[in-house]
């Protein structure tokens, strides 16, 4: 689907989590939805993610976390972004996230949480409706 402006999305896998199938599937899926997806690969530190968000000037950063460290990792990435005065980036988290942690993530500043079963269309629509 063509859009007026090219929305840029950074897909990152923070921490010591080697499972990137989900992130890859989503990266391809979002490309096919017309987004420009920057994929950074496995084992990214919060510093690396923040640097990439800034240099690539993305609209969205998607963190894929299956290790159980989502609260710590999302928190650190958001902290790094805030520390560098980045406030206009939509932060999304995907992966194995227990129901009770979702409100905690949202409180930290995560705009959307997508667990297994979420469709690419749903995520694409969410991004389109939240990025002006």
């Amino acid at each position: 689907m063509e859009q007026d402006r090219n929305i840029r999305v950074l897909m990152a896998k923070p921490g010591l989590d080697g499972h990137e199938r989900g992130a890859r599937v989503l990266a391809y899926g979002l490309r096919d939805e017309g987004f420009e997806v920057i994929y950074t690969g496995l084992r990214q530190t919060p510093d690396q993610i923040a640097a990439a968000v800034i240099q690539e000037d993305v609209d969205v950063v998607g963190l894929s976390i299956l290790s159980g460290a989502h609260l710590a990792m999302a928190g650190k990435v958001i902290e790094k972004l805030k520390g560098q005065r980045v406030k206009d980036v939509l932060v999304l988290v995907g992966g194995v996230i227990p129901e009770e942690d979702i409100p905690k993530l949202k409180e930290m500043g995560v705009a959307g949480v997508f667990t297994s079963g979420a469709s690419i269309k749903e995520i694409a629509e969410f991004i389109r409706s939240h990025v002006s």
Binding site: M1, N6, E36, I38, T40, D57
Partner: protein, 314 residues
């Protein structure tokens, strides 16, 4: 120019990476005000050296860019990287994966990496990349590396704008060397056989040498062919030495620079005229009438275009 835009340019010139990234987005998207940005920064450009890195997929361009950047940083040079990947002609989206191989440099001080999608605009890519190079130049980068597969006219045009071009290949490509020949070979200043710890690297060097020997291009016999193992950093120092030699020799050729500016002016002019024509045609109904006339086979498209061009000129 708005105060906001002026502030953004000032911030960028004072070293704000965020302002730099924001300006690049603006220029890449041709957002309102981008021309003002280009005009404002132009006096501060012309210092950086631009190096094009091209070669078939899987040759190790991104890894080589990573290692090469480390070497340049170690020599106290600041580096900007533009990594070009294709947009899908169907969805308009793109998967930009070069950062996966650029982990070393992603947080390195003095390095700025930007991924750019080709966005399928005819001739638009090379102009956009040239403009992004200028912003990185104004920001104060000493060396700007542009990495691209170099397939298609647009990407070849991008590489052509570089001060030095290196073509990366790998052992065992065989006929792939033939593929490089078309378009890219003619503009190579240095050939790199990467992954040279693999079998057949000597053969690859010979194949390239043979190809260059058959070329009628002036100076093709003197083009260096270097072996590297980017993942281990082997051969990188020698590569940098050779790159600097090319950059120094190019610096003397004023005619080459003139030719490049002439090309840029022509491309900008083409774009501006095309834009003007599109706007003009969009506003009147001449085009709709013409479409109907051709569809009904009342008139031929050639004389219609001739007529339209005549009306623009007068």
């Amino acid at each position: 120019m708005t105060k906001e835009l002026e502030d953004l340019i000032n911030e960028m010139e004072e070293g704000s990476v965020r302002a730099l990234a924001r300006l690049i987005t603006m220029i890449e998207n041709r957002e309102k005000g981008w021309l003002e940005v280009m005009k404002a920064i132009f006096p501060n450009t012309g210092r950086a050296h631009v190096i094009g890195i091209t070669g078939p997929p899987g040759a190790g361009k991104s890894t080589l860019t990573d290692t090469l950047t480390c070497e340049l940083i170690a020599r106290d040079l600041s580096v900007g990287v533009i990594a070009v990947d294709p947009s899908s002609p169907f969805s308009g989206g793109a998967l930009l994966g070069d950062r996966v191989r650029m982990k070393e440099i992603s947080t390195m001080k003095g390095v700025f990496v930007r991924s750019m999608a080709t966005r399928g605009a005819m001739g638009g890519l090379s102009l956009a990349v040239r403009d992004v190079i200028k912003v990185l130049d104004a920001f104060g980068k000493d060396i700007i590396l542009i990495e691209t597969v170099g397939v298609g006219q647009d990407e070849v045009d991008v590489v052509k704008t570089a001060d030095a071009v290196m073509v990366v290949c790998v052992p065992g490509m065989g006929d792939n060397i033939q593929a490089i020949k078309a378009g890219i070979m003619e503009i190579a200043d240095i050939f790199v056989v990467n992954k040279a710890d693999r079998e057949g690297s000597e053969r690859a060097v010979l194949d390239i040498r043979l190809m260059l020997n058959m070329s009628t291009e002036k100076g093709s016999l003197n083009i260096p062919i270097l072996k590297t193992v980017a993942t281990k950093g082997e051969g990188i120092a020698e590569l940098v030495t050779n790159l600097f030699e090319v950059l120094e020799s190019q610096e003397r050729e004023t005619s080459w620079r003139e030719e490049r500016i002439r090309e840029e002016l022509m491309s900008l002019l083409d774009k501006a005229i095309a834009h003007h024509v599109h706007v003009k045609l969009g506003r009147n109904s001449k085009l709709d009438t013409a479409v109907k006339q051709v569809l009904a086979r009342e008139r031929d498209p050639y004389s219609i275009v001739q007529e339209m061009v005549a009306s623009f000129v007068h």
